[in-house]
């Protein structure tokens, strides 16, 4: 049993309430896609779930057999934000092996080796290059490879396909599907359809307006 629950989440930026009373439950293999125009609060919601923003109300709970009851949900999550969290001065393999060691594997799975992860995102031969030498699209792919080197059941993806060509989008979708098939959970904010089957959609309207959840 693995379950990510969000209960009545609300978040505030400055004076404005960005969204109010959002609840969802995600079991293993399920995914939630956030859509909505710019500024509608997609990133805010993802950062709240990742524990990087304090919610105005509500909470995020992670439940599984191995988890302590008091554990922060963020520890079960990978977060891929707008920024890649990789150092331009270090080589790709140094970056990836740092995150592999620092993050470690969450109970219930194992991360790939650095070489395999780079191979999976289609950039096997260039792990020896400094991260700063790569193009924007290649950097994004390598940032995605970071999700593969350390196992986390929940992937939180904020615009994962920004700066990517069509073939890379397919690679990403494939990897997300594999992750879901392995019993993972994914939350993604996106403008492009990711092509995930039976993904739930949460349409964000922003400024605490009406929220509708569709299946």
């Amino acid at each position: 049993m693995m379950r990510l629950t969000a209960e009545n989440l609300s978040a505030r930026r400055g004076e404005d309430l960005i969204f109010k009373d959002i609840s969802f439950v995600l079991d293993r293999g399920e995914s939630l896609v956030l859509t909505g125009r710019n500024g509608s609060g997609k990133s805010t919601l993802l950062r709240t779930v990742a524990g990087l923003l304090r919610p105005e109300s509500g909470r995020v709970v992670w439940q599984s057999e191995s988890a302590d009851p008091g554990m922060r949900a963020a520890e079960a999550c990978h977060y891929l934000g707008h920024r890649n969290a990789m150092k331009a001065e270090m080589t790709v393999s140094e970056n990836l092996s740092f995150w592999k060691e620092f993050l470690g594997d969450f109970s219930g799975g194992h991360g790939m080796s650095v070489g395999e992860a780079a191979e999976s995102v289609g950039l096997g031969g260039i792990v020896h290059l400094p991260f700063g030498y790569l193009s924007a699209g290649q950097q994004r792919r390598m940032a995605f490879a970071k999700l593969l080197v350390a196992w986390r059941p929940v992937w939180i993806l904020d615009e994962p396909t920004a700066a990517l060509d069509v073939s890379a989008e397919e690679v990403f979708t494939g990897l997300i599907k594999e992750h879901l098939a392995a019993g993972g959970i994914a939350l993604a904010a996106t403008h492009q359809p990711l092509g995930l089957e039976n993904a739930r959609e949460l349409r964000m309207t922003g400024f605490a307006g009406v929220m509708e959840e569709m299946w």
Partner: protein
């Protein structure tokens, strides 16, 4: 944790890292003093320990704002914050890496600058020892300032100003211990032990404060 230490050390010596900048600034500050003060060797050796300490303090302040800023700019800080290693330990390791990359080079460079100031061997040794003990305190105090100012785009000067009042006691006891080693009536141990105590105190308080500030810096 070892991985984080090694990564930060690597970054501090590579392009854009602060290690060399701090030492160069230290040398610049101390090297211009003899030109400004004039070739009075007695005066130079008398003010030597104080000048070396002031130079070290300023250079230590120079690199502080980058401690968390670089990680914030590329998004790494988010990922560091999400892991409960716990966070205080993560901050402590980052402080250690920052000191090894920025503080230790200052300590190593200080004997050379002591020669510039016509200091005696004992005075050079005492200054180096007090710097070795005192500069970690500057890093731990600075970590709090750096964490508070991490969301500000040009927080560099602000960090220095925030940190300076707390860094003054370190300077006072560092310099007085250095002088006590060469001037006869004053005992060396009391100011030196207070310096040790300050460092140990901030080694505990600093990471806790910085971790709290980082937790609340979310945007």
């Amino acid at each position: 944790m070892i991985a984080l230490l090694l990564r930060d050390l690597k970054l501090s010596v590579r392009a854009g890292g602060g290690a060399l900048i701090g030492v160069l600034f230290f040398m610049t500050v101390v090297a211009v003093i003899p030109f400004g003060v004039g070739p009075d060797l007695n005066l130079l050796s008398r003010i030597g320990p104080a000048i070396v300490w002031i130079g070290a303090l300023l250079s230590a302040l120079l690199g502080l704002d980058r401690m968390f800023q670089t990680d914030r700019e590329d998004g790494s800080l988010d990922l560091l914050l999400m892991q409960e290693h716990p966070l205080v330990l993560t901050v402590l390791v980052k402080c250690l890496a920052h000191w090894l990359g920025n503080g230790l080079p200052l300590v190593i460079a200080s004997p050379l600058l002591g020669l510039f100031m016509n200091m005696s061997e004992v005075a050079i040794g005492a200054t180096m020892l007090t710097l070795l003990v005192g500069t970690p305190a500057l890093t731990f105090i600075g970590a709090v300032g750096a964490a508070v100012a991490v969301v500000l785009p040009r927080g560099g000067l602000l960090v220095s100003i925030l940190v300076l009042p707390l860094a003054i006691p370190v300077l006072i006891f560092g310099v007085s211990a250095s002088y006590a080693a060469v001037e006869d009536p004053a005992p060396f141990m009391p100011p030196f032990l207070i310096l040790v105590a300050i460092t140990m105190f901030f080694a505990v308080i600093g990471p806790i404060g910085a971790a709290l500030a980082l937790r609340n810096s979310a945007d």
